[in-house]
């Protein structure tokens, strides 16, 4: 008979909170009366990502004091005494402060009997009115900050106590401008951001664990939807790591095709980045121009890979299909005007006074902080560090190709944007060289049907549009990776948000977050 989890049972008070995520609650309801089943599907506290400072996960955020009682509720039919305890007296962990007290007054039981009783006692316009009124007795609390759960750490207690003239503003996960399901709890003083509590995890799929239960072949399309607007780079990181594990020699033509297709996708990703940055600053036109570029590129890639978004194209030892006539004609068509069009799209913003004034000087990420926080990619290069995986740890045929690593020293939103503009130019150069140097030959290495690498471990990283996209895999000799870990640049870039936002205005929140270019699929994994 499971009872309310207490500190004694679980050793630490945090665990019941994490096991009462929304999905788990839904599961418990669906299986009414089977608390054991509900307990089984409850995920253990997230093993990875390494909990960054000042960031919590959505699963935790949804937990609340009333949720602590949730696992006990399915027992209601069996034990009539339990629901009363669950609805009236949840185990209140020792916590103090205004936050906890205001929260404590909201007690909606999940027990159907109790809900029915509450509804019956409610004043309603007429007996057969189908509308259900909200409980107006708690109106006073509606405008108060409600912490997601009794604060557990000093940092949370500090954040959830308001100073004079401050207020909370919950931005996301359904805000129109947060990229995907990012949630930012802002503490505002007027329009100025005083503090920020980013909440992630709404899109968590446990993709690393899924990969550990997949064949080496299947990992490729499991990692595809991570950063869903630049799928080839995740595939490449996984494939590169597995090739290291298995000592596979990839044919040169395959390597050139990989470089060609992924640089195309880099341009597509950066086109969207520029458009979304402008959209978050209020300009509605550049995003549509960016989508035109991206659409031409994904159509081109669809003709060779068969998909527009989740390509599933790279294979261990090569690529899935050779370049075909349609791809080459589309590519030639596009390349003849690519340089001009991307320049024109960039000019739309570069020479816009309002855009430049809004992006310059906000969200300045200095060199040391960027290095300390593990920022990579364009965001790091905008802070003055010329780190590019393609040059620092060369892979594939990049040593043979000529391109520059653009850097800037300002470290602000504008610099991050301009780095992307420069990278598009360099990518066009790389594509041009690929087309000139493309060798003939096979596109796949000779490999056995069943892949069983020798026991060992490998790390492979590629330079994605957002930074270093890495995969670390351990093989135990079976046909599935024993351990599979993903280093996603979006997560590390997003971790700088609590450092960048305070002191800025609310209007710049989205400009800064957007300039870091997070993709929540990759952040939440």
């Amino acid at each position: 008979m499971p009872t309310q989890p207490t500190d004694d049972e679980h050793g630490q008070p945090t665990e019941p909170v994490s096991r009462s995520a929304a999905g788990v609650r839904a599961g418990a309801h669906a299986r009414g009366g089977q608390p054991e089943a509900a307990a089984e599907v409850a995920p253990s506290p997230s093993p990875s990502p390494p909990a960054p400072a000042g960031m919590r996960t959505g699963a935790h955020a949804r937990g609340s004091q009333r949720d602590i009682a949730a696992p006990a509720e399915p027992a209601a039919p069996a034990a009539p005494a339990a629901p009363a305890a669950a609805t009236t007296a949840p185990p209140a962990p020792a916590s103090s402060g205004p936050a906890a007290s205001s929260f404590g007054s909201v007690q909606h039981g999940h027990d159907p009997e109790a809900v029915r009783a509450r509804l019956a006692a409610m004043p309603r316009p007429s007996a057969d009115d189908p509308r259900v009124l909200l409980d107006r007795t708690s109106d006073a609390d509606l405008f108060e900050p409600i912490p997601p759960y009794p604060t557990r750490t000093e940092r949370e207690a500090e954040f959830y106590s308001l100073g004079d003239g401050e207020m909370f503003l919950n931005v996301g996960p359904q805000h129109p401008a947060t990229h995907g399901v990012l949630r930012l709890v802002l503490k505002l003083s007027g329009e100025q951001v005083v503090d920020v509590d980013p909440v992630i995890g709404y899109l968590h799929r446990g993709v690393e664990k899924i990969c550990e239960n997949s064949d080496y072949y299947h990992v490729i399309d499991q990692v595809d939807p991570l950063e869903y607007i630049s799928s080839l780079f995740q595939e490449w990181a996984a494939v590169l790591t597995f090739e290291k594990l298995m000592d596979v020699q990839v044919p040169r033509r395959a390597e050139y095709i990989r470089v060609l297709t992924s640089e195309l996708l880099r341009i597509a990703s950066h086109s969207l980045y520029m458009g979304f940055l402008a959209l978050d600053l209020g300009g509605i036109t550049p995003i549509l121009y960016g989508f035109i570029e991206r659409d031409e590129i994904v159509e081109m890639l669809a003709s060779v890979t068969g998909a527009r978004m989740l390509f599933n194209y790279f294979r261990i030892g090569g690529v899935n299909g050779d370049l075909n006539h349609e791809f080459m004609s589309r590519l030639g068509d596009w390349m003849s005007r690519a340089a001009k069009e991307t320049e024109a799209n960039a000019t739309l913003l570069n020479e816009n006074e309002i855009f430049v004034r809004r992006a310059r000087g906000v969200g300045v990420l200095d060199r040391e902080t960027a290095l300390r926080m593990g920022v990579t990619g364009g965001n790091l290069r905008a802070s003055g560090v010329a780190f590019d995986v393609r040059r620092a740890h060369p892979y594939s045929v990049y040593p043979e190709l000529q391109f520059n690593v653009p850097t800037r020293d300002e470290g602000d939103s504008l610099a991050r944007y301009l780095i992307r503009v420069d990278e598009v130019r360099e990518s066009i150069r790389i594509i041009d060289q690929c087309l000139h140097n493309m060798p003939d030959g096979p596109i796949m290495a000779k490999l056995p049907r069943l892949l069983r690498p020798r026991p060992g471990r490998a790390w492979g990283a590629v330079e994605g549009p957002r930074g270093m996209m890495g995969v670390y895999a351990i093989s135990d000799g079976s046909d599935q990776p024993f351990r599979f870990r993903i280093h996603d640049p979006s997560l590390l870039n997003l971790e700088t948000v609590p450092l960048l936002l305070p002191g800025n205005l609310l209007a710049d929140t989205m400009a800064i977050v957007s300039s870091l270019d997070p993709v929540m699929g990759g952040v939440d994994k």
């Binding site: 007429s126 057969d128 129109p176 402008a278 300009g283 509605i284 121009y289």
Partner: protein, 447 residues
Amino acid sequence: MSFATRTWTRMSIPARLLAIFIPLAVVLAIATVLVIVVLGGPFVDFLAANLPLVRFFVTATAVLLMTVPTAFVIIYLELKVIARMNLRIGPNRVGPWGAAMSVIHGLKVLSKEDFAPTGVDLPVFTLAPVVTYLASVMTLLVIPFAPGLFGQDLNIGVLYFFAMGGLTVVGLLMAGWSSFNKYSLLGGLRSAAQIVSYEIPLTLSAVGVVVLAGTMSMNHIVLAQSGSVFDWFVFKQPLAVIIFFIAATAEANRAPFDLTEADSEIVAGFGTEYSGMRFGFFYFAEYVNVFIVSALITTLFFGGWTAPFNWPWAYNLNWLDFSNGTLWVGIAFVALVVGTDVMAVLVRLLGGSTWSLPGTMILGFAFATVVAVGVVGLAGFIAFDWVQGLFWFMAKTYAFVFVFVWLRATLPRVRVDQLMGFAWKWLLPASLLNLFVTATAVVLLSR
């Protein structure tokens, strides 16, 4: 429980008000008709004796009714123009070229649930859109659309305009405060700060025109600009035009100054909690405001209804004998029938067999009607100076409406501190300088 009681309890409060108001209006209308029938003579005498009052009621009603098609046209214009600038097609399903899209939008908001979230301050929440809308509509009362075609020729027209225009902020602030939503609150306070700041350069730049024209009456300001194009105040007040345009953009909450409803920051600003027709009023008010500030720029700086050049021919159709009314009705009828047939034949020839016979006739009738309206409009344009004045006024005004739409498609949004800094550090000194130079010049030249 009876049917009536059950229906009554299920009705929302506005529906209950309507249920009281509509029978009352019917009864009052019948009573009015009866009064006119019974007391016909004295009633007409009363109206004749109180012509200004009658004029006020009639023009107020006309102006109120005018806002709806105006908003529809501008909404459609914006949908279509921005779509083209974004390399999209825009609405193209409802009506020819999607032209009925905004009518459908209007019907949609009308048919939505009248919903107020828990926790709102209901009276304020309900009144806010009305205040905003009425503040917009009331400013229309003093705009001279054409010679003789205006609501009221107030001798303090410009002052009245700014006073009523300033009331918009009250509605937005009410909406922001009563919505019980922090996004709304931020939007409402932003709009208060923004509109109050930009009122000052807006008004000061218009004072230059008032100094030049020597009057605050809108009609006399237009008359002061009649003559040639170079009598327009835009050539005497170039700086004021720029200041006025920028400030008017901010006043109308249009891009790049649409901070009150910045969707990437504060979801929909003051309108976050509004839906249905309550939202519709805000939406209408926004586009009516666009029209109004365009009309004001036209009136103050671009000559109002005056033509940019003089016509080489006389405006009269005296050679047409209108004395025989029946004959002209017959001619119009025959012309429409013949025109319908001619157009139907044209449709058949050009469109081939894609249209059925009834379809061809209907389309032919529609085209013939358009041609007839065009011909009658042209005749009116030549014959009546108010038709001509209306044409020029609308042409100029919609040119500025287009510029507002164009700005929205082009520019990102400014930040709130930049917005305020620009108003106080640049626009205010510039408008003061403009006023000083204008006043000095007027004093020196008149000496």
